[in-house]
Amino acid sequence: MITEKLKLQPEVLEAVVIRFVGDSGDGMQLTGTQFSDTSAMFGNDIATFPNYPSEIRAPQGSLYGVSGFQVHIGSVEVSTPGDNLDLLVAMNPAGLKTNLYALKPGHTIIVDTDAFNKKNLEKAQYDTNPLEDHSLDNYRVIQVDMTSLTKEALKNVEGLDNKAITRSKNMFALGMVYWMYGRAKEHTIDFFNKKFKTKPHLIESNTKVLNAGYYFAETLELIPNAYTISPAKMPSGTYRVIMGNTATAWGFLAAAEKSGLELFLGSYPITPATDILHEMVKHKHFGVKAFQAEDEIAGIASAIGAAFAGDLAITTTSGPGLALKGEALGLAMIMELPLVVVNVQRGGPSTGLPTKTEQSDLMQAMYGRNGESPVIVIAASTPANCFNFAFQAAKLALEHMTPVILLTDGYIANGSAPWKIQSMEELPEIKNNITKTAYENWQPYTRNEDTLARNWGIPGTPGLEHRIGGLEKDSVTGNVNQAPENHEKMTKIRAEKVKRVQNYIPEIKTEFADSGDLLVVGWGGTYGSLHSAVKQVNLEGYKNIGFAHFNYINPLPKNTEALFKRFKKILVCELNNGQFVNILRMNFNGFEFLQFNKIQGLPFGNNELLDEFKKLVK
């Protein structure tokens, strides 16, 4: 019934990476979410990463139909979902086949032996059964006939058909893992009670199976109980677990409330950005106006209209959608309207790898429009700080009267992490440039001397009637003015306005070392991977390796060049073929910027980073 192929010493671990894999229908996302939420409530730091197949429902048992959910839990700060696994829970052969590569040698696999039948083995393209052919000898394999055990557990529950019974085997696996890691089952049982309020037989069955798995592991004491992950030392406060896309949506909710404006979202669904729309449409109670448009162009067009009319206007999309919005974004730019464009990056080019992560839209964000049309570009770096950068994007747009592009990516957008809830009271103030009542000689293009933000005159306000548009405009009245000097002047003002945002953003800081041999530079969603790797290399005794991670890209923080000068080597790490590094090259002369690039639709792995760092400092 249970085989342990390899005996290992129980270890005391600071952090553990677990991946649940199975068929799309096996409920792996739910299992993973339950485990991570429970761990977070227990006080662990967590980071998660779901991995869906790009098909909606691929044929059962097929290799491309495998759905996975990875959780990283720690008693120390964890900043990525992790790359190498400590535990792989594989509900079928296809899941094992496609995920084994990530498991650390010697570490644990839990499999449902019932699923390792001839049909499934064939679908997973196994010639022989891996549970029997010694190909797993380097791992600790825990074989459990979960399906049978689940059926057994449920044989007395009324009102369940066969499908419902086999579907709940994921709870058996979860129960086992809860016991292994000393987690309480209560959170999940509560969840059943809420979710199946009207279907008591499902509450009963799921609870039964969860308990069965838990007690199965406990009773047989087959699993060393040494993995006690104690709570992580996180700043005190009230927390919740949040997904990046939800955090983004909530950041805008907060910004709307803080600025006293109504929130408008114009969007067209696209993976992996759609969840922001899904989240926004829920919040009609806050008066959120979420408009699902006919395409990306209408999405941004409606947002431009809403911005003109005085709303906090947002449009959300991903790579190909941003390409479509370029022309309209140029219009918002020349009209100097506040607008936030969220681009959740995915693997490109073209349709590319729509469900994978990448950082390859940076240049597009900078330059994907005709003419000289600079906008503010910022990037979030963790699921939780999507909240802050969404808030900040709105604040910058409103205070500087310009479009802002907020870049996130599939990795942080779909990942989740504990978020120390920021209440309204803690959030910074947001000013805006609205002219409330007309005064003599009011002009739409008169500017704030510091920010260069223009006046925002909103339809409905008597006396501020004015016309703006896409033609070059007079520097005061906003009327059409195509005079040569006016055009040069306006082009420079628009550039200067974005440049001056430097005065309103934090300086860039280094972590681990403030000067030395090597500065590791990253931006956006790679924060977690890079931070862990630099931390580890420092723990390993390499003392002069610093880390600087950029959230502000256009403009760059003021002190960037000074910082770079303090290091002998600079290594720019990106999930693309080298885009941020080129922006640095444009801006800072005389540095030799080294590159580390990965273009696989995957986050950085810890080892590949460590290897690279060590190569450069040895």
Binding site: M41, K284, G305, A306, A313, K420, S423, P459, H466
Partner: protein, 337 residues
């Protein structure tokens, strides 16, 4: 728009300080003045009116109106206007567009705005040509038309804007010549009153690149014989002598002469613009002789804003969230000390 207008406007209140730059003789001047004269009739405050346009000769319109306005990018005005209206349903929002702007590059937004029935007004300057880019055929240019981009004659059959609009479920459609300022003004006023998206096609003469394309429909001397000006509830009679009328022969509209073959006024169809079923309206927009003008369809339906508003009220009433803090601290939260 139930705004109380304190001051009685005249058309001059709606003239902006920008010099009008259309070619002398262009019908666009007529439409501009008709609009400036219609606005005081509407009883709407100047600051609550927004004109949005795309790109084209016609799209320069907002510059000349002393209201809020945006001369946006080619084809996207319906999207922008939708955003404006959804953001602030109190505004009176007008889309000023050309046949190219609305039906070439802007075709998608055009059909979707009609489908959604947001309370916007769209004035379509149909001159069957791209004016601003100096004379290429447009999606309403006729087959065989020689233009800069069809020197041997256009090979692409045109849209009939009314047919396309009704196919997209337009609730209000009117058509009018570009040379009858009073009629234009009156239709603009009606469009304003109509709740939902209203579309007005103006048969606008471009004196430079397509001069006279409507001569045999709109010219003073043929107008009454070649057009039928439809009014809700009135019989479909036309002609200089008001002796021609339309009757239904199976599924075809037929022109008859009152007084001939025993036809009397009672036999003539009566126009029902407010009918939900668009069959008759579609037949009318397709009619080649006489060409139907006036308000062809004006069917009252729920607007998108109304639906949204009702839902929002309902959700608000049922929700325990009024501030974001309520949301942020709801559900599964936990403390770390």
């Amino acid at each position: 728009m139930e705004a109380i207008v304190e001051k009685k406007y005249t058309y001059k209140d709606f003239e902006s300080d920008q010099e009008v730059r259309w070619c002398p003789g262009c019908d666009d001047y007529v439409i501009l003045r008709s609009m400036q004269k219609a606005l005081p009739e509407m009883g709407v405050k100047k600051e609550e009116v927004v004109f949005v346009s795309g790109i084209g000769c016609s799209s320069r319109f907002p510059y000349y109106m002393n209201t809020y306005g945006m001369h946006s990018i080619h084809g996207r005005a319906p999207g922008i206007a939708s955003g404006i209206k959804l953001a602030n349903p109190k505004l009176s929002v007008w889309v000023m567009t050309g046949d190219g702007d609305a039906m070439a590059i802007g075709g998608n937004h055009f059909i979707h705005v009609l489908r959604r029935n947001i309370d916007l007004n769209i004035v379509l300057f149909n001159n069957e040509i791209y004016g601003l880019t100096k004379g290429q055929f447009s999606p309403t240019s006729v087959v065989g038309q020689k233009t800069k981009s069809s020197p041997y004659g256009n090979t692409q059959p045109p849209f009939n804007p009314g047919e396309l609009a009704l196919g997209a479920n337009a609730r209000f459609f009117a058509r009018i010549g570009g040379n009858v300022p009073k009629d234009i003004s009156q239709i603009l006023v009606e469009a304003h009153k109509f709740k939902g998206t209203s579309l007005i096609e103006v048969l606008q003469n471009c004196v430079i690149f397509n001069d006279g394309c409507y001569n045999n429909i709109t010219n003073k001397d043929v107008k009454e014989d070649k057009q039928i000006y439809l009014e809700h509830g009135k019989p479909m009679i036309f002609g200089k002598n008001r002796d021609k009328g339309l009757i239904l022969n199976k599924l075809k509209l037929e022109v008859v002469t009152i007084g001939e073959n025993g036809i009397t006024e009672a036999d003539i169809l009566v126009h029902n613009a407010k009918e939900k079923d668009p069959t008759m309206h579609q037949m009318l927009v397709r009619l080649e002789y006489p060409v139907a003008t006036g308000i062809i369809r004006s069917f009252d339906d729920v607007t998108l804003e109304e639906r949204e508003d009702a839902l929002t009220k309902q959700v608000k009433a049922n929700s325990k969230f009024t501030k974001t803090n309520d949301l942020f601290f709801s559900g599964e939260i936990y403390m770390v000390n």
